[in-house]
């Protein structure tokens, strides 16, 4: 950058020419990096999907298997997300409002799915519910299918999206403190009332934020689901798996068409997320000030 040149005291307030050049270079460098690394991959999905024209694009999306995969992905997300929402709420409530033994252990456990490889995660469920697993023989006796069936996919998705809600809520609720809830209790509100009237309105944005992250991940999860699903077309293929199968069959246009749906979902997620950050001031270190005011 500017080298070993003494800088006057006002240099940060009135940047010198060299500093401005440095600043513009850094900004351009990052924009270039983003363009090459993030925007191009998204652009390529859409151009590939539309490379054979709109009609083929529509046809590839309206294939029975793709539509089925879309429905299955929706179904899985709509089971996994509410489950984790409830758990995330319960866990963050317990962690921020009560003292108990093993609390820090619980916090560590919540992070496990983030550091374990999705493939290993999927494999764990094969170990428990698979034919050679602990519950496998009993399950198959009762004609219940978990692995290579929808329940396994739901379980794997629940596992990978497990930390998102809790991780958003815990710091937020910690910063907020429990003063308002205590006040409500003093005024004679019962637990249920405190939760619906005080806690929930306070945390609703953080809760929504975590839920969106969880939903986005559960729609797009690939590694964990791919291990437990068995890739049975029209039965256990979620949308990301369908993308993989089409791609491996060299049916690139169809693969990218299905991928474009997922990409759209991702872009919409980012939009909502950013809108939430801007309007509510989440994630900008404002939690504390917000809680105080």
């Amino acid at each position: 950058m500017t080298g070993h040149r003494p800088v006057s005291s006002s240099s940060l307030l009135h940047p010198s020419r060299a500093q401005q050049v440095g600043r513009v270079t850094l900004i351009l460098l990052s924009l270039l990096f983003l363009l090459g690394f993030l925007i191009l991959p998204v652009a390529v999905v859409f151009t590939q999907a539309l490379s054979q024209g709109w009609k083929l694009y529509r046809d590839s999306i309206c294939q029975a298997y793709v539509l089925f995969a879309l429905r299955l992905t929706g179904l899985v997300a709509s089971i996994a997300v509410p489950l984790n929402l409830v758990f995330g709420l319960a866990a963050s409530w317990a962690i921020t409002r009560f003292e108990f033994h093993g609390k820090s252990l619980l916090i560590t456990f919540i992070d496990i799915p983030l550091s374990v490889s999705p493939v290993v995660a999927g494999m764990m469920y094969v170990e428990v519910f698979g034919l050679h697993g602990w519950l496998g023989p009993w399950l198959s006796e009762h004609n219940l299918h978990v692995i290579f069936a929808v329940p396994g996919i739901v379980l794997a998705t629940v596992f990978v999206t497990f930390p998102f809600v809790a991780r958003e809520l815990i710091p937020f609720m910690q910063a907020q403190g429990s003063d308002e809830e205590v006040a409500a209790v003093v005024l004679g509100a019962n637990g249920w009332n405190v939760f619906w009237r005080v806690t929930l309105p306070n945390i609703k944005w953080a809760l929504l934020y975590g839920t969106i992250l969880a939903a986005s991940r559960s729609i797009g999860e690939f590694g964990a689901v791919s291990v437990v699903s068995g890739h049975i077309r029209g039965k256990t293929t979620t949308l990301p798996l369908q993308v993989e199968m089409l791609y491996n069959e060299y049916n690139f246009t169809a693969a990218f068409a299905a991928a474009s749906l997922l990409t759209l979902a991702a872009v919409v997620t980012l939009g909502i997320k950013k809108a939430l950050e801007v309007t509510t001031g989440l994630r900008r270190g404002n939690e504390k000030e917000e809680a105080k005011s």
Partner: protein, 258 residues
Amino acid sequence: MIYLTAIVLIPLAAILLHASRQGFMGFLHTVTAPRVLASYRVTLGSAGVAALLSAVFGMLLAWVLARYDFPGKRVVDALVDLPFALPTAVAGISLTALYTEQGWIGRYLEPHGIHVAFTPVGIVLAMSFVGFPFVVRSVQPVLEDLDPAMEEAAASLGANVWQRFTRVIAPVAFPALLTGTALAFARAAGEYGSVIFIAGNMPMKTEITTLLIVTKLEEYDYSGAAAIAGAMLALSFSIMLLVNLLQWWGQRREGNRT
């Protein structure tokens, strides 16, 4: 707590038990087979390089986002999370499409003898893609919290840009940078979806460990898969421990300063 036990701990215990049931020698034999060792080299080597790249570019982006104002900053800020939101399978096929011979970027690289798709370079690329947001998101809040007054003070004492960076900013941001890099490394080492398409998956050369687990599962070699998964779990937990230590270190440093 019960939910947690059912969803996380029991399956975790199952895999570790299965891995240990084959006895220590059997376990050792499986996890040190030549093909498995080669996959560690590929995975850890690529993840290491990817983590370093993520650290450099993540630091750059975090700096630009925390310090400068420019048109479209919000869009850039939102875009950083794209690798989190984009399904890994989609990232995998689109990166591959970009870097093969006919791809937008590969077209210009291939004539110069630079092969990205189906080589370790492609693996590094895919791993950096999923890894770098971790660095940005770890470092950015720290840089935003850092009071520009401290830099101004350093500048008024005659420190040049380089001195200000190494003496004022780097010590504060360093724990966060390390945490982010460790997270990026963990994610890169466990990555599956975005890597398998671009890797080419040649045994001994471009086969990553997670793919090997899947291959073993497809061959119904459950014990082998469990053993390798156990080894990977050990890696994940050591990284988690490291991250916790780093965060503790960062907090202690912060405590010392105030």
